[in-house]
């Protein structure tokens, strides 16, 4: 294999395991332990992607989560492709196949790069200023092309075959980040015996300490790597600590509730992924949180600072030390601090040529710069890079001296050939999670960063995320603050060797020798926002930092500004002459780094999307070819087609049978509330519109429930089982809310009432048998019940037995037929149903579903709450004045019936409708007018709420609410449909058996 840029030794990769992968169709090799970025760099590949707007060539810039440029798409199949992944985070595995994004036809030759040519006329916000004429072209022309050019990778086009999981975890201490600070905090905390969780987003622990130069950094005379390893091994021995790698905290919510994503298989070869959970979302409740999230290195902002081959200095160091990869052979470094010198020395020690170091400072007496001077590395003090050359890869930098005040460049420009430019602009504490949690920041004017000032939750920040730099400072702080935070005393002395040199100078936007308008100094690499865009926004009056962000889109790319946000703030602060502390930051929003929808949803997809509630007779319905209807979470038998019957035919047959012979319906889904207590009758008086005190034991009564604003809310039959005992039925959909509302009133408004409610919906199965033969069938099925009308009249109930099973039979009817409802303990539901079917066989018993039930009740004009009503209908509107007690002093909703609008005479009222042509069936939801116009708008007077063809009346019938309907009986109205207008006559709502004779038939 040819890894031209791989050093012959070193790094943490496993050189015995060669991994082959594909990049843009070409097979390349790396080692196990490589990231895609390190493997590409080992192969000498820098150019990975194209930028969002100008399609400029872009290379690998960093080594981690902050990467703005090197985004790739993993190709597997249509259901398993992943867009927008960072090459710096992908751990390579055998058969990994990735391509560059946002380029066509290829990353090397991208037509979109023409945008770069036009870049001068497309500054920030250009689209607000153009594409307005003509208006009609926006969607299909301008927007079409803008959309096509925008976007990054491609969405999968097939269902994701992978599995995601959720876990909950409670701990006393959560430590986020396992760099030196996090490890030290964990080490200290572990001894306390508390339950601890330590997480880090990377595959290995130690953070940036992992790749620091071992000659200059030591803890207790151990190399950084040895110390990390030892510390980790010691931690692992503690039973009270759980350690997770590849686990990133995405969101930090109030009350120390955190969301984390753990990657379980993305790094494995495909064959090892099979059957395993891909990612796990953790929901953490932590008593205390220790943030040790580290810091992110900053770039430098100068003209053409975005070319492939320009990389963060710390990243270059990491590629050498961790992966044994040199990112170039002729290296230049541009810095404002000593840290970059460690990179220089590290590379130099590995035999890589450092051509020059450009330092904006006028000197540094730090250990590392001195060493560089000793090594003979050329340092250009008080200088800046003003330009870079090289289209697809940097090949030259232009350097000039800085003026005394750093505002200008002076002297002659000189050029240095190179194939890599390491930039180091200092470090920004990673305060994202801290601010998500509600913490307030303060700006350090000397060190030029925001750091945690005041936290609102039970939490501390330690290490560089707290603005503490220097190895010794970091680990001492972690130890001290952890002790204090957990109120323990676990001290250990450390002997730390580290280079001296903290001198740091900061220039947000480096001066240039050009007209600033001619430069392209990128602040947000991925979104192609430049310093000029920021200046333009300010010039146009966008003063707030949030406006600048939105106008220029700085910080809104997939890296969420991890690289460039500080510079954007700095530039705004300089230009507007506002102190950064006063300017503030834009809001950091979750997640810290993007997380898959799949992980957020976990297993709650497909059949687990929502609970499915099934009645005890569900299996029977299924076996008998029922079609089901979703009613809330319930599956209800809708109709039972036999022999390829259409829905219409099945419903007609079922409805007819129910009136001529016998029908059987599964009514188990109706809500059932058991009400007991000495004030039960009074309670019902208050919650229903009608009176309950005089209902005799053993009798049933229909009740209507209103909202406090007077609108119909629920209805159902309630049965008095004993002096202080009722059972209420509610609508299927309303069961839970009615129960909740009743409890609410009992506990908070009427605590003096002695009433106890229990939801018993799932405890009973309900079989409803109706029709002329229903009594005969019931007599065969039940024992101990006398079904004579005198003993067992309509609206009463009897207890009985079915074999040895207790049952409660209610003689109530929603179809208008003689009808009984058998209630048995739920487990017996199916057997009782089957008994009824058997007993009814000779009588032609026919199972009917909800659709026939709706038809049958419509023939009788019975309302369905939620169909005839929509939250705007009063009982008076329904012409149900009879059920609204005038005598009762109060009930829920009563007062609202007496407001000016609810008392209006011409409200929409419940009526029946008949079509001229009895075969014409109106569409439910169709609107009604009194006067037809040639074209809309037309004044609507109401709408059709229910409509069926009645097999028992041999004509179509409909129910409706119509303005002033009470007074319109016999009048003609019109239903204008798209292709015709249907004339209708207003009728009574009861179409069949007005006298109610069939109840006793």
């Amino acid at each position: 294999m040819s890894n031209k840029y791989r050093l012959s030794s070193g790094g943490e990769i496993n050189r015995s395991e060669i991994v082959s992968f594909k990049f843009n169709g070409k097979t390349l090799y790396g080692y196990k332990g490589d990231t895609l970025a390190s493997a590409l760099l080992a192969n000498g590949i820098h150019l990975v992607g194209r930028s969002f707007k100008y399609h400029r060539p872009r290379g690998i810039f960093s080594s981690g989560v902050e990467e703005p440029n090197a985004l790739v798409q993993i190709i597997k199949d249509q259901g398993k492709t992943d867009p927008n992944l960072r090459a710096t985070q992908i751990e390579i595995y055998e058969d990994l196949n990735v391509i560059s994004q946002n380029c066509w036809p290829s990353v090397n030759f991208d037509i979109g790069a023409i945008n770069n040519f036009f870049s001068r006329i497309i500054p920030a916000g250009f689209y607000y200023k153009t594409f307005m004429w003509p208006a009609s072209l926006w969607k299909n022309v301008y927007e079409y092309f803008i959309r096509k050019a925008a976007g990054l990778g491609k969405s999968p086009t097939k269902k994701d075959p992978d599995i995601y999981d959720h876990s909950y975890y409670h701990c006393e201490v959560l430590i986020v980040g396992a760099g030196p600070a996090g490890l030290m905090a964990a080490k200290t905390a572990a001894k306390s015996g508390k339950k601890i969780l330590l997480v880090d987003e990377r595959s290995s622990f130690g953070g940036n300490l992992n790749f620091s130069n071992k000659d200059y950094n030591k803890i207790n005379d151990q190399t950084p790597f040895d110390w990390i390893k030892k510390t980790y091994q010691d931690l692992e021995k503690n039973k009270n600590i759980k350690i997770l790698n590849r686990t990133s905290v995405a969101a930090y919510h109030n009350y120390n509730y955190l969301i984390m994503l753990q990657n379980l298989t993305d790094h494995l070869p495909d064959k090892d992924k099979k059957g395993k959970i891909r990612q796990r979302l953790w929901k953490i409740r932590a008593r205390k949180v220790i943030l040790a999230t580290g810091a992110i290195e900053r770039p430098m902002i100068f003209d053409c600072n975005d070319r492939p081959g320009i990389m963060l200095s710390s990243a270059v160091r990491k590629y050498v030390n961790t992966y044994g990869v040199k990112c170039g052979e002729n290296i230049t470094i541009f810095t404002n601090n000593d840290d970059a010198y460690e990179t220089a020395i590290t590379l130099h020690d590995k035999g890589v040529k450092i051509k020059a170091i450009i330092d904006i400072r006028d000197n540094s007496d730090g250990t590392l710069p001195k060493k560089c001077i000793d090594l003979g590395i050329k340092i250009h003090w008080k200088s800046t890079v003003v330009y870079t050359e090289g289209y697809k890869k940097i090949n030259k930098i232009h350097v000039m001296k800085l003026s005394k005040d750093n505002n200008n460049v002076v002297g002659n420009k000189f050029k240095i050939d190179c194939d890599l430019l390491c930039v180091s602009g200092g470090y920004t504490p990673a305060i994202h999670l801290f601010t998500q949690s509600g913490g307030k920041l303060e700006y350090n004017e000397q060190k030029h960063y925001f750091f945690p000032k005041k936290n609102t939750l039970n939490q501390i920040s330690v290490g560089s995320c707290n603005g503490t730099f220097g190895l010794k400072n970091i680990i001492s702080e972690a130890q001290e603050k952890t002790n204090e935070f957990l109120n323990i005393d676990q001290k250990e002395q450390f002997n730390v060797l580290e280079p001296k040199g903290e001198k740091f100078e900061n220039i947000w936007l480096l001066p240039t020798n050009k007209v600033s308008g001619k430069t392209k100094s990128f602040v947000d690499y991925q979104n192609d926002s430049t310093s000029n865009d920021i200046k333009l926004a300010l010039r146009e009056g966008f003063k707030s930092i949030e406006h600048v962000k939105r106008y220029t889109t700085t910080g809104m790319a997939t890296d969420q500004g991890k690289i460039g946000n500080m510079h954007a703030l700095g530039i705004v602060s300089e230009i507007t002459n506002t102190k950064l502390g006063e300017l503030g930051t834009t809001t950091f929003r979750p997640p810290y780094s993007p997380i898959t929808f799949g992980a957020l949803v976990g297993r709650n997809v497909g059949q687990f999307f929502d609970i499915t509630r099934k009645t005890p007779m569900h299996d029977w319905h299924e076996k008998n070819n029922a079609k089901f209807e979703d009613v809330g979470q319930w599956k209800r038998a809708w109709y039972y087609p036999s022999n390829n019957e259409s829905m219409y035919d099945a419903v007609q047959r079922e409805s007819k049978a129910a009136r001529t012979k016998a029908g059987i319906l599964d009514a188990s889904t109706l809500g059932k509330i058991d009400i007991q207590g000495s004030d039960a009758s009074e309670f019902l008086n208050r919650v229903y519109t009608n009176a309950w005190s005089k209902l005799a034991i053993g009798k049933c009564r229909y009740g209507l429930m209103l909202n406090e604003d007077g609108m119909v809310y629920d209805d159902g039959v309630t049965t008095r089982l004993g002096e202080n005992h009722y059972i209420m039925t509610t609508t299927t959909g309303g069961a839970a809310t009615v129960m909740g509302k009743l409890e609410d009133f009992l506990q908070t408004e009427w605590p003096e009432l002695k009433v106890y409610l229990t939801s018993v919906t799932d405890h009973f199965a309900t079989v409803s048998v109706c029709g002329p033969y229903s009594k005969k069938i019931l007599e065969k099925v039940t024992q101990n019940i006398d079904y004579s009308d005198i003993n067992f009249p309509h609206m009463s109930f009897k207890d009985g037995l079915i074999d040895k099973i207790k049952c409660r039979v209610m003689r109530i009817s929603f179809t208008g037929e003689l009808s009984y409802e058998i209630n048995v303990q739920a487990n017996y539901g199916q057997s009782v149903w089957e008994k009824c079917m058997k007993a009814g066989k000779d009588f032609g018993i026919t199972p009917y579903g909800t659709e026939a039930m709706h038809l049958l009740r419509a023939e009788k004009g019975f309302i369905i709450v939620g169909q005839e009503t929509d939250g705007t209908v009063t009982p008076v509107d329904l012409q149900m004045d009879w059920i609204v007690s005038k005598k009762k002093y109060d009930f829920i909703g009563k007062r609202s019936l007496y407001r000016s609008d609810t008392m209006r005479e011409d409200r929409k009222q419940y009526v029946g409708l008949l079509t001229n042509d009895p075969k014409e069936i109106l569409e439910e939801g169709a609107q009604i007018v009194a006067e037809v116009k040639n074209m809309p708008p037309m004044d609507m007077v109401g709408h059709v709420t229910s409509s069926y063809y009645s097999p028992n009346l041999n004509k179509s019938i409909a129910l409706a609410v119509v303005k002033n309907g009470k007074k319109l009986k016999g009048k003609k109205l019109y239903v204008p449909m798209p292709n015709k207008t249907i004339e209708v006559t207003v009728s009574d709502t009861i179409f069949l058996d007005k006298e109610g004779k069939r109840l006793n038939a």
Binding site: Y128, K139, L152, S155, K159, P590
Partner: protein, 417 residues
């Protein structure tokens, strides 16, 4: 006079490296007295000021914004614009707005990117079907475009929707309003601000209202962090903070302010060309021009002014998204955020006079105010200028809560987004 924006202006300005663009708006200090003051520099407030100046000839207007303009719900919403509401009053209001949207970019000379890509409302059960058909018929007779799509037509119009009959809540059809769509939210605030500023409206940012001064039953002025401002007319367009201002004036409103969240995915190439909403499973999604999937979640039930909601709401929304679009499972959430929405009990807004003379409220837009922005501003300006409502907002008065004449849009299966 503002210089016109155009491609020619862009080319011309590029020659001077864009150094000569005018300010989109000034940042003036407040005067001591105005003829009318709008509290709240969101889209609705800026539009109100714009139309007061443009159509009612008010010369001396200020808009007070406690933060930065467009920073509240204007800049936090999912930008859906539609007018397919059930009730006549709502349909009239929202279609008035939609008609203004159709020429807004040209009127403001600011591209608000109104994209009429259509809005679908999916039905998942018999109740949905009935209610959405009811709405379709009502829209048609109100002269609003709206069609019913059966499942095959749904599949054809938006192929990535999972139309399998075997999912937990199968798609049973959909409404489609073709004139509906999306717009660029920030641009609406900025475009109105630029337009209002050009007519002399003072847009005063970082100016928080501290008190409303009353003289008996009339308003006299406003205490602000930038001093006292005298005015006889105050239009409050403070969304989630409406009750806070109302409390200063000593009145109560039928509002609750709740967290509403939204999220975007990382940008991807175009995959969905319309807006799809589903009330039954609580999800709505569109794709921004930048390529992000813009996904709206529901409100939390409790009052909060923190602009933060609960994780469970996000999870529930994405659950529904993946149910409808299983292909999105591997896409990644880039950013989530929250706003504070003020909700009336009937899910309809208030554009109303109050018991105090000179004090007007435009609030209660709940989760769906963005779509109404131009219409809301236009009608509110009328209400303030004439001291009486326009016919189109007469129903949205505060007295409806006394009479009971509510405009109940949630009972009518109209998702209020």
């Amino acid at each position: 006079m503002k210089k016109k924006y155009s491609i020619f202006a862009l080319i011309k300005n590029s020659l001077s490296y864009h150094e000569n663009w005018q300010k989109a708006w000034r940042n003036p200090e407040p005067k001591s007295k105005y003829d009318a003051v709008i509290i709240g520099g969101g889209g609705h407030g800026l539009a109100s000021a714009y139309y007061l100046a443009k159509e009612h000839n008010f010369k001396n207007i200020a808009v007070l914004e406690k933060g930065w303009i467009g920073g509240g719900n204007t800049g936090r919403n999912t930008t859906i614009i539609r007018s397919n509401y059930l009730w006549d009053a709502s349909a009239g209001l929202y279609d008035h707005a939609l008609k203004i949207w159709e020429n807004l970019s040209q009127e403001l000379n600011y591209n608000v990117m109104f994209s009429q890509r259509g809005v679908m409302n999916l039905a998942h059960n018999q109740h949905d079907v009935r209610e959405l058909k009811r709405r379709t018929h009502a829209n048609r007779l109100n002269g609003i475009d709206c069609e019913w799509l059966n499942v095959e037509q749904v599949k054809k119009f938006c192929p990535i929707i999972n139309c399998s009959p075997n999912i937990r809540y199968p798609v049973m059809g959909s409404t489609l309003q073709r004139r509906a769509g999306t717009a660029r939210h920030d641009a609406v605030a900025w475009g109105y601000a630029r337009g209002a500023d050009a007519m002399g409206v003072d847009i005063i940012q970082n100016c928080e209202v501290k008190g409303i001064k009353r003289n008996g039953d009339s308003v006299e002025g406003i205490e602000t962090t930038k001093g006292f401002i005298r005015t006889k007319k105050i239009g409050v367009v403070a969304a989630g903070h409406s009750s806070v201002i109302a409390n200063m004036a000593g009145i109560r409103l039928p509002l609750e302010s709740k967290p509403l969240q939204a999220l975007v995915s990382e940008p991807i190439k175009p995959i969905i060309d319309t807006v799809v909403m589903s009330n039954a499973v609580h999800a709505y999604v569109s794709q921004s021009d930048k390529g992000e999937l813009v996904i709206g979640a529901g409100t939390d039930a409790y009052i909060s002014y923190t602009q933060k909601g609960t994780h469970e709401i996000i999870e529930g929304t994405l659950k529904a998204i993946l149910e409808l679009y299983p292909i999105f499972s591997r896409l990644r959430m880039l950013r989530q955020w929250g706003g504070v929405v003020d909700i009336c009990p009937d899910a309809s807004p208030l554009i109303s006079k109050t018991s105090i003379k000179g004090l007007y409220f435009n609030c209660g837009w709940g989760t769906g105010g963005f779509k109404a922005t131009p219409g809301s501003g236009h009608l509110f300006a009328h209400t303030i200028a004439k001291d009486e409502p326009h016919a189109l907002n007469a129903s949205f008065n505060i007295n409806r809560f006394v009479s009971g004449d509510l405009v109940d849009e949630h009972g009518a299966a109209a998702v209020a987004h």
